[in-house]
Subunit: 535 residues, 2 copies
Amino acid sequence: MTRIAIYDTTLRDGSQGEGVNFSLQDKLLITARLDELGVDYVEGGYPLSNPKDTSFFRAVGDLPLKHARVAAFGMTRRRDIAAEDDQGMKALVAARTPVVTIVGKTWDMHVLEVLGVSLAENLRMIGDSIAFCRSHVPEVIYDAEHFFDGFRRNPDYALETIRAAADAGAAWIVLCDTNGGSLPEDVADAVDRVSREIPVPLGIHTHNDGELAVANALSAVRRGARQVQGTINGLGERCGNADLCSVVGNLALKYPGYEVLRPGQLVHLTEVSRFVYETANMNFRPGQPFVGTSAFAHKGGMHVHGVRKNASSYEHIEPETVGNERRVLVSELSGKSNIAEKLAEYGLEHDTSLLARVLDSVQDLENQGYQFEAAEASFVLLVDRLAGRRADWFELLRYNVSVSGKPGRDPLTEASIKLAVGDQVAHTVSEGDGPVNALDGALRKALEPHYPRLGEMSLVDYKVRVINARAGTAARVRVVIESRDGDDVWGTVGVSENVIKASWLALRDAFEYKLAKDSRPCRGGVTEVAADVAS
Amino acid sequence: MTRIAIYDTTLRDGSQGEGVNFSLQDKLLITARLDELGVDYVEGGYPLSNPKDTSFFRAVGDLPLKHARVAAFGMTRRRDIAAEDDQGMKALVAARTPVVTIVGKTWDMHVLEVLGVSLAENLRMIGDSIAFCRSHVPEVIYDAEHFFDGFRRNPDYALETIRAAADAGAAWIVLCDTNGGSLPEDVADAVDRVSREIPVPLGIHTHNDGELAVANALSAVRRGARQVQGTINGLGERCGNADLCSVVGNLALKYPGYEVLRPGQLVHLTEVSRFVYETANMNFRPGQPFVGTSAFAHKGGMHVHGVRKNASSYEHIEPETVGNERRVLVSELSGKSNIAEKLAEYGLEHDTSLLARVLDSVQDLENQGYQFEAAEASFVLLVDRLAGRRADWFELLRYNVSVSGKPGRDPLTEASIKLAVGDQVAHTVSEGDGPVNALDGALRKALEPHYPRLGEMSLVDYKVRVINARAGTAARVRVVIESRDGDDVWGTVGVSENVIKASWLALRDAFEYKLAKDSRPCRGGVTEVAADVAS
């Protein structure tokens, strides 16, 4: 088996995509998921470009990664300056990652016209930058920007640039189809030529402008490239980067000779894809190959009939191999096996009758627009409710939110809430910066006297998305709230036509989860509730 | 030049896609557009399958088509029956199209297990069906279902099936990758073998389950296929069919030896893509190659800088060749050059002083959390305000929103709004499914008596994002609203600590942009506001 290293650049090149924006917390969560999956390299960002990336590199060192190596990305040094005096170089080394990736110019037109330096100085910039990083960082990867375009126009110079990188100690030379317009046969020819001339392992980095990013990556691998760079869901500028979901799906399932990811992790591909969409607050692309919600959906009567008789009739792979599933007619995102797996993962005790009730309930909620990928705390609470294990921490009697605004002033926002807590009634009111903040304030006032540990908890993120965009503001909205305390971060979800009600539902689950979690004898297993907590 | 025939099956295979549904009128309009573009074949439907398709074939005969030939689609005759007695065959001939396309089984497993007939009877079904249609219809095309899967398992039988079609008089043999899982190298090998053995022109029909539909189509063409089947925008079951926009874009612009479409029509590709989305009432896919709204959008500062020096720096083709356009995204990464480009793109008149004020203002707003990349209408209004060109359509005096909820009931939501419109005061109130819906309702009540064309406009999407996730619900939120009327789709943005205020700001811009746009003398150029509009 030949291992193909997967280099994920969702957090760097992917974030160049229109509308893509990750918070620091998002980036750390995604890194952990990619590591779990068995991605070999996670490119975290561009240390010089913004303070968020700098904080990321500081924080990522504390993540207990099992497999992935984190890479910091930067450009070659500026012209006419020593590498050690260059801000960018210094920032790269200061990121203290095990891997640094440096991008440099291959295409003579770019060197002369865009960069405005001589062809010789560009070679020195490449060599110096790599040599400098090599003296501080164990593994330096060289990304040859516009390799295929440059190679087509001036193959000799293109080869000189990567020879400069190889000579200076680059561990990998990655050939980039930066403009995304190359054809698979051109990629194959170029990789052939380079592998004959350069004695360093090759990688491939493609973009999808010709809708050929995946084909181009596979074409390079067939000619000997051993690393593929891309992004989850193909996020990225313009038409995006090669979608790693498709790259990995094809390499793992269509080519018996290649090995990717950690063993047994391919079944989590769909989950990671959806997690990234949720985290980026983007809608799934239903028709996305391998992981899309429609990828194994059958509408045509003949196809449904065929699939029933023999699944391979109209399916190129078994959907379960990538954690996806077949759908016939109505949407059923979660199958029984997913749910069973999920229950096991959380150590939630269950019998077959509970499993069936959870499945029914999840399908029903998903039809209403719920999604539990980024809201597993709500899932855990749901299971507890269905199992009759839910403690009555509090019960809503009524809430009211009002906002009034005038031009040039902050609006006035007030929320009141009336709850039963045990046999007492709490009726509280709070102002806030906005309706959720005001509701949060009123809820704390009502509950903290009974449950002081709620003071440890805070809300860290709040996301709203319209589910059926067709109907505009009258459509349903899904609110996802991320909360944390000293130990954990958890997501909860609410769905309603009304954003305030959806927020309330997610907020209620956020508080309930904190209460449930603190009362569990051990983390992960929801068993019985300590009787003295609600006193 | 070798002509590659383009066979569009948007109206048949495309309509198998999840959520795709065309009315009879839609189908006729799309046929006319495809004809104008120079598509060679338009497959209109499946005469036996539903009455709409039957009506389509009746009506399409009256369209004055310039170039395209309309095809009716059907399966081979049923088992053990003469072709002339088969309902499907009769319906195909009755469609009176110049072309009939018949699909038949190639894969022995399908013949035996799914169809349940003998291998010999399947060959007779193919031959009889084609011979019967040939006796009534000038051109009969044979679609070999599951060709590549069948060929891999039992190449001899697969070849026998298409030989039966060729012997019976098929004008084309189209090799179908029905399950969409084949690899380009397998397609190339199979096409090589078939073209050596079968003396009939070949076509290729691919699906995108491995994200290789376009690559597979191109691979077949390079080995001698002369017809490509696909759909506009890649509509179709599961992951869709080969996107003809990408197939045509690549064939026309990357391969000098091939000719497609009518001369000079490639510039209408983007328009046809969007027309099909609009007609199908589907959202555009921004990152779609060649024709997507982000396909030539630049965000990274380095890329914007490069594109301005030389467009080929970061663009694989000139966007104008396919009727698309370059966009510079106004984002946190943007500098003065981006803003200047944006002003030019919108034909917004400006001098250096206005440019400087816009830049200051954008930077200030971006620091507050604004992002204009999905909200260019708000950017246009901002420039107009800074230039003193903003018309006073209406002025907010006050709004109030209240939501009250009880368990198990829909919350009650009410918004009131007080506006000055010219010298009148409008004070209106509305209920709604949620606060934005209620505000939208109250705003319409207040403004529609003055500006009736607001009735053309509706909200299509609403997104909320917390900007600085660290501070939880007390952080700022960014609301982006997407609106549309018959002609355009536009995005607006609002930022505040309060989601209701942020929604109000985005909603206000959405309405103002509609009013401003309708009063402009020409589309795209915001110049002066016609004085009589507000009367």
